[in-house]
């Protein structure tokens, strides 16, 4: 501010008291004090830690990351064995965390939306069942629920030797679910390329179709044509590639079922537990999102003669989405964070691997700092993505 501080009676120089009475000066003082306190506290903790580490001969630094981990991890999305480094082990844990969180987020959104709408259903029994579901699974600690699912899943299915085979090649056992996967072949690469070409083609056709509709008002059966192009092109590539039929079928070899793709009971327990728990919150978010749209919007649609189903789709849901996004983001973050409980039922997530690492190397500070910053990073990423989405959905205001 460039104003002079002269009193109306005449010129007088400013005293210290005048300075202390100035709002701006005061604000700066408060801030300096606050920052000072934070720095002081930080310095105190760090210096204590250094002294303690020194005194107790505890080694520090992230050098251990290159050492051989020498423990096995049951499921991994990258190449890993006991000879791999701790860094690789942590990466495996991270990927497992991401895998279960991502799938959990998708599933809990679907299930939560269904139950959220069911709670507003006009069908009494459906409404009550949805309420019971939501209230039950919301009010029991998620850790207990994980224990519960992990107790149920391995017991619900037979030993691999007597595996239950609902579809040829799909095996349900106490060690999880096995599915056949195609053996690698050039044809699949070709199909991938075809899929990309199809998507690009569909993109352009859609642009053209929109233009045509705007000009002539004639709609274009985009969904049918698009599906046709996609399926056709990919199938063509499959035939050109020689139509390979080899599948890697899961079958019993020795102790275990070998081959195919395995979904372990630990993973299932964590996934189901987190999904069920979080879906109850998502259901509440969806319900209140729908209820948050002012009644006037329904009335306006009614008075225009628009059918309720169309009104829900075109008028209400797009608006409730806007209300629902911030609390949904919170639930997604919670799910990601709760995935750290996977350690309790033996799913090798980030915390589980870090825990073992911490125990073997004794370097608690480093291990904790690694997984804390990874979680922070994941949370930030999720928030950023949802903020971006929120902006996209936000209403334009004056």
């Amino acid at each position: 501010m460039s104003k002079t501080q002269n009193a109306p009676g005449g010129v007088r120089s400013k005293t210290v008291v005048d300075y202390l009475n100035d709002e701006n000066v005061r604000a700066i003082l408060y801030q300096i004090i606050a920052i000072g306190l934070v720095i002081l506290a930080g310095w105190y903790l760090v210096s204590n830690t250094l002294v303690n580490l020194e005194r107790q001969n505890i080694s520090t630094g992230y050098g251990f990351l290159d050492l051989e981990a020498s423990f096995e991890i049951s499921e991994s999305m990258v190449q890993y064995s006991a000879q791999s480094s701790y860094a690789t082990a942590l990466l495996v844990g991270l990927l497992n965390t991401v895998k279960v969180s991502l799938l959990g987020i998708i599933l809990c959104t679907i299930i939560g939306t269904i139950f959220g709408i069911a709670r507003l259903s006009s069908n009494w029994i459906v409404r009550k069942l949805a309420t019971v579901y939501v209230e039950t699974f919301r009010n029991i600690p998620v850790l207990l629920q994980l224990f519960f699912w992990y107790a149920v899943i391995p017991n619900a299915f037979p030993h691999p030797r007597d595996a239950f085979e609902p579809l040829p090649g799909v095996l349900l056992t106490s060690r999880g679910m096995y599915m056949p996967v195609p053996v690698a072949d050039n044809a699949y690469t070709l199909m991938g390329i075809a899929a990309i070409i199809a998507i690009v083609a569909i993109f352009f056709i859609k642009k053209w179709a929109k233009k045509r509709q705007d000009e002539t008002g004639q709609p274009f059966p985009m969904f049918l044509v698009g599906t046709g192009i996609f399926v056709g092109l990919v199938f063509l590539a499959y035939l050109i590639g020689g139509a390979p039929t080899d599948m890697d079928m899961p079958e019993l070899k020795g102790f275990n079922i070998r081959g195919g793709y395995n979904i372990s009971p630990e993973f299932l327990a964590v996934l189901i537990g987190l999904t069920v728990y979080t879906s109850t919150y998502v259901a509440e978010v969806v319900r209140s999102g729908i209820q948050a749209v002012p009644n006037g919007q329904w009335e306006a649609a009614d008075s225009l003669g628009i059918k309720r189903s169309v009104a829900l789709r075109k008028v209400i849901l797009p608006q409730s989405m806007r209300v629902a996004i911030p609390p949904l983001t919170n639930q997604y973050l919670n799910l990601t964070k709760n995935s750290s409980l996977a350690v309790a039922v033996g799913y090798p997530d980030l915390v589980s691997v870090s825990n073992t690492t911490m125990n073997q190397t004794g370097q608690a500070i480093e291990a904790i700092s690694i997984f804390m910053s990874i979680y922070l990073g994941l949370s930030l990423l999720t928030s950023l993505f949802m903020n971006w989405f929120n902006k996209k959905m936000a209403l334009v205001e004056r």
């Binding site: 008002g217 009335e299 008075s303 225009l304 008028v315």
Partner: protein
């Protein structure tokens, strides 16, 4: 066009509409006024079946308004309502607001719907705002869009529930102007409003309601010049004194 006979409505035990009798002819313009809570909104919302009624009979354009879904749909195609708070769809542009109902209810081709919408937007004099969102418009502009949206359904009857009372004083005029024009073109209109100037200018009849009853019903000259009932006199003295 509209026949209301002995209509009664309760909210729980609260009797909001008491033996309402009202006949509206085609092309007639009716202004409804009365103190707050007297049931004005409830009455016109009942005509559109936004509210149910419990006894009596209401027919609109020859269609009996009851629980029959087909009848309700038919009535709603003919009767459009403009609300105090506009109730525009905030996530759609002005144009999308206007074309939504023609496309989904009248099954009109999109292009035609847009032409129609632009026609009515010009009529309410905001064609240049077609691609903005409601949130970007002033209150008066929003209300004009709401009127245009109703007009796009080409209704036989328009209902207005205090269309100007949420507006800044300067914007009232632009909305009233549009309504006066409509009235002059012969649209059948029922309008809840306290704008007595408007009532004097266009109303064929003024209806005064109090405590759920129609207390007085007369042509505007007579209504303002020599109101019969005490309640009407009191109300008019309050509303005109400043």
């Amino acid at each position: 066009m509209i026949t209301v006979s002995k209509a009664n409505k309760w909210y729980g035990n609260f009797h909001v509409l008491k033996d309402i009798d009202l006949h509206v002819r085609k092309g007639e313009r009716i202004v409804i006024c009365g103190p707050s809570g007297s049931g004005k909104s409830t009455l016109i919302r009942t005509l559109n079946r936004l509210e149910t009624y419990q006894s009596g009979e209401i027919t609109v354009d020859g269609i009996l308004l009851g629980d029959d879904v087909k009848n309700i749909e038919a009535v709603r195609r003919e009767v459009c309502m403009v609300f105090q708070h506009f109730n525009l769809f905030p996530h759609m542009t002005v144009l999308e607001n206007l074309t939504l109902a023609p496309i989904w209810v009248r099954k009109m081709p999109k292009k035609e719907a847009i032409d129609l919408a632009m026609h009515y937007l010009q009529r309410v004099r905001i064609a240049e705002q077609a691609h903005k969102f409601p949130g970007q418009l002033s209150g008066g502009q929003q209300q004009r869009v709401a009127i245009a949206r109703s007009l796009c359904m080409q209704p036989k009857i328009m209902l207005f529930d205090e269309p100007t009372s949420a507006l800044d004083p300067e914007m009232v005029k632009e909305v009233l102007d549009v309504m006066v024009e409509l009235a002059k073109e012969g649209m059948t209109m029922l309008c809840v409003t306290h704008e007595m100037g408007f009532a004097k200018e266009v109303a064929d009849r003024v209806v005064f309601m109090d405590a759920g009853e129609i207390v007085e019903m007369a042509g505007p000259q007579e209504f303002f010049a020599n109101p019969k009932s005490e309640r009407t006199k009191l109300f008019l003295s309050q509303i005109l004194s400043h």
